[in-house]
């Protein structure tokens, strides 16, 4: 059985870091805060690795099937008997895998930041936030209760917000952080309503109970939920779809992806951690968590998930080909890769061989974390070196930054799916799963993989080759040891992670899954990948005007892609024009002028009436007598003739 204390310590240590540095960092640990944070996280990582070892090799497998363990569960808030938010820890293969990923990447980022963020004014705050994020993310992956995951979901969101807006005096950073938070918040609304629906249908908030209730077709919950329909879909479909919207928001799926590129305003290590490796895959993780429900009860939603993933993958890939800010390219690439994971889930089924997509998705999540974090950290090193994000300010850097160059190349090869790097294996499985279940998605994915290779190498060549005689102001070295160490470690990961027999450990139903390797199947994607690389080589290896020409020849398509297909503008239109100008402003006006106006009107009317009847008190005693007499007569007449 898992050791509850050890597992609890994994998230709690970063939390301790957050509290320690957040409360006292500015005064007491001004300089040592980085080390404190790193040390705490190192402990966490070790514990996570230990847990992973214990789980996968010691106690996890019972009767050949990986089980879920819940070593600890505390009732946090009880709504009604049976329905309560619990703070529990679910230990199963995906959560353990995620524990490793999160702690490892986070550790890398912690180490890297020691160099990258050195000299920042709010250094300790930065580490505090990192601690908060790591804690929330770990809490998220360990959640055993859908509301618990929602809680950490939000916490992850806010730490992301805090870190994107870390340079709070930069208006663009502030705007980006707001955007990220609000867009994901909007998605979370769906998540929340989805939770309400699912919990109401299943009568619980606990994952296991909920899954058990909602996947058994003869349970009352499923029956009633299936009959109660709204807008042509059953309540359960709605619930599951809405929950997915939450995941889509966090994972930057089309069309809720617009926050992700902007989020690059944050410090680059943050992008590596949050917006590449960990937080953005939370959506994938969520779908994986609830996978039995999607796969068994509401396959229609799963299909939607598949298509959303596929569309996101290809759109992001197209846009990535046109961007010039290297971090934005990486951001779109992230989106594209998450699209892969998502549709991998979408094309999967529950249990056995047909659950290949599930395994592949998780596998890709794992490898992607390695190489994407590596890419970001490498990009960070580059940016650190040239003080710019723009490709045009770079070029020919391979001589100045050899380690960065090498690791970056490994990562590019990995993401392009070139064997034997990590990406190849995971992508291969995904494509296979897609091929087996949904050919249309398979073709989309195939094209995407070619595009991926192209834009990655476009990036690579632009940075490290292209203009050779570029002067970069005063030349300071490539970076300190602490910055290079993570690159190397991650590079090793990106190169080697593919050889892990992932299916052995992670599968939709816990049963180990044989990894099959189909050489003939790999030809097409690898060839496409190579073609993409060659195209990039031809276009970008040397400084020339071919890219410009190509862009010109593609015309409006290029322009549309460059402008991210105008999705941002649509959002802007909706928020600014409709929400602000057509809802907010009228609401505020209505309140001040109509609602309040009515209240004031009563007051003013009273005043006016008071002014109007003042003539009654004319000062003429005879007129008073007339009122008197009239009063008498009228009252008398009334009471004699009407009310007697």
């Amino acid at each position: 059985m898992p050791n509850a204390t050890i597992i609890a310590l994994i998230p709690l240590l970063p939390l301790a870091g957050f509290l320690l540095l957040g409360l006292f960092g500015r005064k007491i640990f001004k300089n040592s805060s980085g080390l404190i944070g790193t040390a705490l996280l190192l402990t966490s990582t070790v514990l996570a690795l230990y847990t992973a070892y214990e789980y996968f090799f010691v106690y996890g497998k019972v009767d050949g099937v990986y089980q879920q363990f819940i070593p600890m569960k505390l009732t946090w808030l009880e709504f009604s008997p049976g329905v309560s938010i619990d703070m529990g820890m679910a230990v199963d293969s995906i959560s353990v895998m995620m524990l490793v990923v999160v702690t490892f990447v986070s550790l890398m980022v912690h180490i890297y930041s020691l160099g990258y963020m050195k000299g920042e004014e709010r250094f300790s705050t930065y580490y505090a936030f990192l601690g908060l994020f790591t804690f929330s993310m770990l809490g998220l992956v360990l959640s055993s209760n859908i509301f618990q995951i929602y809680i950490f979901w939000e916490l992850v969101g806010v730490s992301s917000f805090l870190l994107i807006g870390f340079y709070y005096d930069k208006p663009s950073a502030v705007a980006a952080s707001k955007k990220a938070f609000i867009v994901t918040r909007f998605a979370d609304l769906g998540f929340l309503v989805g939770i309400l629906i699912l919990s109401n249908s299943s009568g619980t908030l606990d994952f296991n109970t909920m899954i058990a209730t909602l996947t058994s077709p003869d349970s009352d919950a499923v029956k009633t939920a299936a009959t109660s329909s709204f807008l042509g879909a059953s309540a359960l479909t709605w619930g599951a779809a809405l929950v997915f919207i939450g995941g889509a928001g966090k994972s930057a799926m089309f069309p809720l992806h617009i926050w992700l590129p902007d989020a690059m305003e944050g410090p680059t290590p943050i992008s590596a951690l949050i917006h590449a490796a960990t937080m953005v895959v939370a959506g994938v993780y969520l779908v994986a968590r609830l996978f039995p429900i999607y796969a068994i009860t509401v396959p229609a939603v799963l299909e939607i998930i598949g298509w959303v993933g596929a569309i996101s993958a290809i759109i992001a890939a197209i846009i990535a080909c046109t961007q010039t800010d290297i971090k934005r390219v990486l951001a779109y690439s992230t989106m594209s890769q998450i699209g892969y994971m998502m549709f991998a889930l979408g094309v999967s089924k529950y249990g056995g061989e047909s659950g290949l997509g599930y395994t592949a998705s998780m596998f890709h999540l794992f490898t992607h974390a390695m190489f994407k974090a590596l890419l970001f950290l490498g990009a960070g090193a580059v940016i650190h070196y040239v003080h710019s994000n723009e490709m045009k300010d770079m070029g020919g850097l391979r001589k100045y930054m050899p380690i960065t160059h090498l690791t970056f190349l490994i990562a590019c090869l990995a993401i392009a799916g070139i064997p034997p790097f990590a990406g190849f294996f995971s992508k291969e499985e995904i494509l296979l799963a897609a091929y087996q279940n949904n050919t249309a998605i398979y073709w989309v994915a195939l094209i995407t993989s070619g595009l991926t290779a192209f834009y990655m190498f476009r990036l690579y060549f632009s940075i490290f080759w292209n203009k050779s005689h570029h002067t970069h102001g005063e030349s300071h070295g490539e970076g300190s040891f602490v910055m290079m160490l993570p690159l190397v470690l991650l590079g090793i990961g990106a190169a080697a992670a593919g050889f892990i027999p992932f299916g052995e450990f992670v599968s939709s139903d816990g049963n180990p899954l044989e990894s099959h390797f189909h050489l003939q199947f790999s030809i097409a994607p690898v060839a496409l990948g190579l073609a993409g690389i060659l195209a990039a080589l031809w276009l970008y290896a040397k400084q020339n005007d071919k890219p410009a020409k190509l862009a010109a020849s593609l015309g409006s398509l290029y322009k549309a892609a460059y402008h991210k297909f105008y999705i941002d503008d649509i959002y802007l239109f909706i928020t600014k024009r409709i929400l602000f100008n057509l809802v907010g402003r009228p609401a505020a006006w209505f309140d001040r002028n109509v609602v309040d106006g009515l209240i004031n009107l009563t007051g003013n009317t009273t005043q006016a009436v008071s002014e109007g009847i003042k003539k009654m008190q004319s000062g003429k005693v005879q007129q008073y007598a007339i009122y008197f007499l009239s009063g008498v007569i009228i009252l008398a007449a009334l009471f004699i003739y009407i009310w007697r």
Partner: protein, 465 residues
């Protein structure tokens, strides 16, 4: 004979004071200051005496009738007169006709005592006149002021007109019932049209004295024109006494017509509250302002009266008691300010708190009490009136009354706002309040706070039944 002295002790005491003053006046006369102190002491004694030997009984056949409740009512009036003598002592000291003033005021008080005790239309009418004619003369006591005579003229003419109508009503009532004694009239009432007519005629006299809309129009003019002492006497003592006898007349004499007068009261109460409030909204002169506010207060009294059970009586008596303190405190502060600075406008009160915090707090307390805001006694007073009025389950009636409290709060707050919030570049000088007046104001303030919280006072009134 013994009974004569105990039952009529209040009246006899007041008469004795009147004659004492008369002899002083006819004799050597006294300095104003010492005379005033003497009168104050006598009035205090009169008030204290009112607590003893209260019994139930009839005198002069059925003409005079008293009970402990009536004695308590009389005592409220005595208290009010005593407080007025304290509060207005600055003005009283300066007046040239101090003994006459008190003689007139006490005659009026005597009239009110007799009126409350009356059980016969004749004695009622006579005491009503006794309670009115001297006051009209008193209203003219600022002899040099045009407004004072104008006010007095309006009062005497209006009240003569009103008593003409009252008398016509009485004559018709007499014609149809053949008697002028309350209990006998009750026995004879048959609800014929002439009796309704007579009833309406009769009620207008009360309405006139109580300033019920639309018979109220003299009120503000007279209040504004009269000296402050007279205004406070009119607004507190005069109203209180008429309210008491009004209850007796309605509950006893016109009990058979209760359905009718309930409707009448509802109409009158709503009109009175509304019109009084609407007029008060706009007033600048503090006396006029208080006049209209007192009109609105009468509307509330009518709500209480409409209950037609002992709760109504108790609530009204209790309310009048509170009203004595609240209104006299307000008038007292206004009197002090008017006497020292000659200012009577609400705008002149701006920034008063800066220079005269004591006066401001007392006035604010008084106004809160009039508005019916806790913890002042006015809250309890109003609430009990509404509780009494609510017994008939006419919720909308109570609602209208309650909504009127909002308007009234608005204008009371206007004065508070002037004192506490508005800026004034040259606020009033700090006023040196003489100890006597201060004492009276403190008594009023304490009364405003304590009467509500000391629940036994209300319980006592209820136990007088």
């Amino acid at each position: 004979m013994n009974e004569f002295f105990t039952l009529m002790k209040s009246e006899l005491l007041v008469t004795a004071i009147i004659f004492l003053l008369l002899f002083i006046k006819i004799g050597k006369g006294m300095k104003n200051e010492s005379l005033l102190s003497l009168v104050q002491v006598l009035l205090l004694l009169n008030f204290i005496a009112g607590f003893f030997f209260n019994k139930t009984g009839n005198l002069f056949g059925d003409m005079f009738y008293t009970t402990p409740l009536i004695a308590f009512q009389k005592n409220i009036l005595s208290l009010a007169v005593y407080l007025i003598s304290l509060l207005c002592s600055d003005w009283l000291k300066k007046t040239g006709h101090l003994p006459e003033f008190f003689m007139l005021m006490l005659s009026a008080l005597l009239g009110m005592f007799l009126m409350i005790s009356s059980s016969n239309l004749l004695i009622f009418y006579l005491s009503l006149e006794l309670a009115t004619i001297p006051v009209a003369a008193m209203a003219n006591f600022d002899l040099e002021k045009k407004r004072s005579s104008e006010g007095a003229m309006k009062m005497i003419l209006s009240s003569a007109f009103s008593s003409g109508i009252l008398l016509f009503g009485i004559s018709l009532l007499y014609g149809t019932t053949g008697t002028i004694s309350f209990p006998e009239i009750t026995a004879q009432l048959d609800g014929s049209s002439v009796q309704i007519l007579a009833f309406i005629f009769l009620v207008t006299a009360f309405a006139f004295k109580l300033s019920i809309v639309p018979f109220h129009l003299w009120t503000a003019d007279v209040y504004e024109g009269s000296p402050m002492a007279v205004t406070s006497f009119l607004s507190v003592v005069s109203k209180g006494s008429v309210a008491f006898i009004f209850i007796t007349v309605l509950y006893k004499m016109f009990q058979p017509m209760q359905d009718m007068w309930y409707t009448l009261l509802v109409i009158l109460a709503i009109a009175t509250m509304l019109i009084g409030n609407l007029f008060a909204l706009r007033q600048q002169n503090i006396k006029r302002f208080l006049a209209f506010s007192s009109i609105a207060q009468v509307g509330f009294i009518l709500v209480g009266i409409s209950s037609n059970d002992y709760m109504g009586i108790a609530a009204v008596v209790y309310f009048v008691l509170i009203y004595v303190f609240s209104n006299l405190a307000a008038f007292g502060v206004a009197a002090v300010i008017a006497e020292h600075t000659g200012k009577e406008n609400i705008d002149d009160y701006k920034g008063l708190y800066k220079t005269n915090p004591f006066l401001s707090w007392i006035l604010a307390l008084a106004l809160f009490s009039l508005a019916g805001v806790p913890p002042t006694a006015g809250f309890f007073g109003k609430l009990f009136l509404l509780t009494a009025g609510g017994a008939k389950a006419a919720y909308w009636f109570i609602l209208v009354a309650a909504l009127n409290m909002i308007i009234s709060l608005y204008y009371y707050l206007r004065v508070v706002r002037a004192m506490f919030m508005d800026k004034n570049d040259n606020p009033m000088e700090p006023i040196k309040v003489s100890p006597v007046v201060k004492l009276a104001l403190v008594i009023c303030g304490a009364g405003i706070i304590m009467i509500g919280l000391l629940s036994w006072i209300f319980e006592y009134i209820k136990s007088l039944h």
